[in-house]
């Protein structure tokens, strides 16, 4: 029996044979369920996350593990890894909060720097180094979605097309369970997943230094540009280096999403993406003419969208 405090998207689902019982609701005799809407007001950065610190939001970093002892991490809720059990079947088990590679620690540190009160969990799906990592990713991601995280950071992608279908199913399941996947765009001319799916938030890099500046990309699949150049990131041994790559842009958006969700906990994934869009630095609402932040004089933003205004040369 599901407790009454469980939000609707986490309830146990009835077993549905296709169409039986029907998905429909007889609203003439049964009132639609009340839903505690988080209403969208004038969306600005201040409305979206002013005063928020990420408290109450659970984030899973699906990566190479996270070094919980690094001063830039400040502890983890839990640490898990994908393990191979008897017969080669993969499952998820608790593990030491360590990161042999450093990539997951770097990503977790970026999230922590933006959302200091968010609860971070690490799930290691990489580092055995062998090429068959796609299976570990599928097992781990499926687990994370069912484990009820609000946000999953995926600074990785797979180029294997045989995973496309099942990965898309997972992304859709996450979307409907109100678990938002934030995925790094691949910056090479190859086809990879899941960042190309519309049910996730995909992130590429801009080259400015402000961690809270991000742009909406009017020509997706990469939907947002966040800080991804010379990012100070946590490095094994308690140190810090500067790294460049979309791997470090994605956790900026994950951190910002954690702030937004901690202030507006009833936002659905499609609302959250809308808030991200409306609070981006290059979008404007019909009521305001200027973008959310002032554009430096020496930078031309061809992507600024002036809603309702025609551009006539």
């Amino acid at each position: 029996m599901t407790p009454a405090s469980t939000p609707p998207w986490r309830r146990e689902r009835r077993a549905h044979f296709p169409g039986v019982p029907a998905w429909g609701l007889a609203t003439s005799r049964q009132a639609p369920e009340r839903f505690d809407v988080s209403p969208l007001a004038e969306v600005s950065k201040e409305w979206a996350w002013g005063g928020a610190d990420g408290a109450g939001v659970r984030v899973c970093v699906v990566d190479t593990g996270v070094d919980a002892g690094h001063p830039g991490i400040g502890g983890l809720e839990r640490s898990y890894q994908v393990v191979s059990v008897d017969g080669g079947e993969l499952s998820v088990a608790e593990c030491e909060p360590a990161d042999p590679a450093g990539h997951g620690t770097a990503c977790a540190g970026v999230i922590r720097s933006i959302a200091p009160a968010a609860a971070l969990t690490s799930l290691r799906v990489l580092t055995d180094g062998k090429t068959g990592t796609g299976d570990a990713l599928m097992t781990g991601l499926g687990w994370a979605i069912d484990a009820g995280f609000d946000l999953v950071n995926l600074s990785l992608s797979t180029t294997r097309s045989d995973f496309r279908g099942s990965l898309q199913d997972l992304a859709d399941r996450a979307y409907f369970r109100r678990c938002l996947l934030v995925a790094a765009a691949h910056n090479m001319p190859v086809v990879s997943f899941p960042w190309t799916f519309s049910s996730v938030v995909s992130v590429a890099s801009h080259d400015e230094a402000d961690p809270m500046t991000y742009y909406y990309n009017p020509a997706p699949p990469a939907e947002f540009h966040a800080r991804g150049v010379k990012v100070p990131v946590a490095w094994p041994g308690g140190r810090q280096i500067r790294s460049t790559g979309n791997s470090f842009a994605a956790p900026h958006i994950t951190g910002i999403c954690a702030l937004i969700l901690s202030k507006h906990p009833w936002l659905t994934p499609f609302q959250l993406k809308t808030v991200l869009y409306l609070a981006a630095d290059n979008t404007v609402t019909p009521n305001t003419v200027t973008p959310n932040t002032v554009t430096p004089d020496n930078v031309t933003h061809s992507t600024v969208t002036h809603n309702g205004e025609a551009h006539v040369p």
């Binding site: 042999p100 990489l126 090429t131 990592t133 090479m188 460049t244």
Partner: protein, 200 residues
């Protein structure tokens, strides 16, 4: 060089990739690691510049260093100020005798999988890190295509039918002896057909 010397061509291809990568960025060194399919280790396969003489053939355990990051995540990246990091510097100095300030790395993707990593150490300062990474990514994609073609050629050579019927018969005999399960029924029918044809 014989036209069948695929190994020789592959070696020259790998060396050419690192030479071009190094010169494209005016870098101190460039190297290729390939992922050992059995252990997951990263093995130095070609080096241009610092460490050129001694590095080829040495290995690193899976998931270590910047190359490990890139092989694991499949994403290209740039790391700056790495020499300021004691741990990294020690590892690098011990294994290569050279401590870089900056490392840039991109995955080499072959048959939809990361087959290795292309690294560029201490490139000349440039206008834009993003442009550098894009260029390295494009070049790594081209290199990955070349490596994939190489493997396709090698496979098709391996599949060429044996022209010596005695050797072929011997190999079939060995295959049949070593099997725990009965051979495929279609294969047996084909053998019977070959027997009929040879009897003509």
């Amino acid at each position: 060089m014989s036209p069948d010397d695929i190994d020789g061509t592959e070696r020259r291809l790998l060396q050419s990739i690192v030479e071009v990568a190094r010169h494209m960025f005016g870098a101190a060194a460039s190297s290729i690691f390939l992922v050992d399919p059995d252990t997951g280790d990263l093995v130095f396969e070609a080096v241009s510049g610092e460490g050129e003489e001694q590095l080829v053939g040495s290995r690193f355990p899976a998931g270590t260093g910047i190359a490990g990051w890139v092989a694991a995540s499949g994403q290209p990246m740039v790391a700056d100020d790495v020499s300021a990091v004691t741990m990294f510097a020690q590892d690098a100095a011990e294994s290569t005798g050279y401590v870089p300030r900056t490392i840039m790395a991109a995955p080499l993707i072959r048959f939809e999988q990361c087959a290795g990593v292309l690294e560029v150490l201490d490139r000349t300062a440039s206008r834009s890190e993003l442009d550098d990474m894009d260029l390295l990514g494009l070049f790594a994609t081209q290199a990955g295509c070349a490596l994939e073609l190489m493997l396709r050629v090698r496979r098709s050579h391996g599949q060429e039918p044996d022209r010596d019927p005695q050797a072929l018969l011997r190999r079939i005999g060995e295959r049949l002896q070593g099997r725990a399960v009965p051979p495929d029924a279609a294969a047996v029918r084909l053998l019977a057909l070959a027997d009929d044809l040879l009897a003509l």
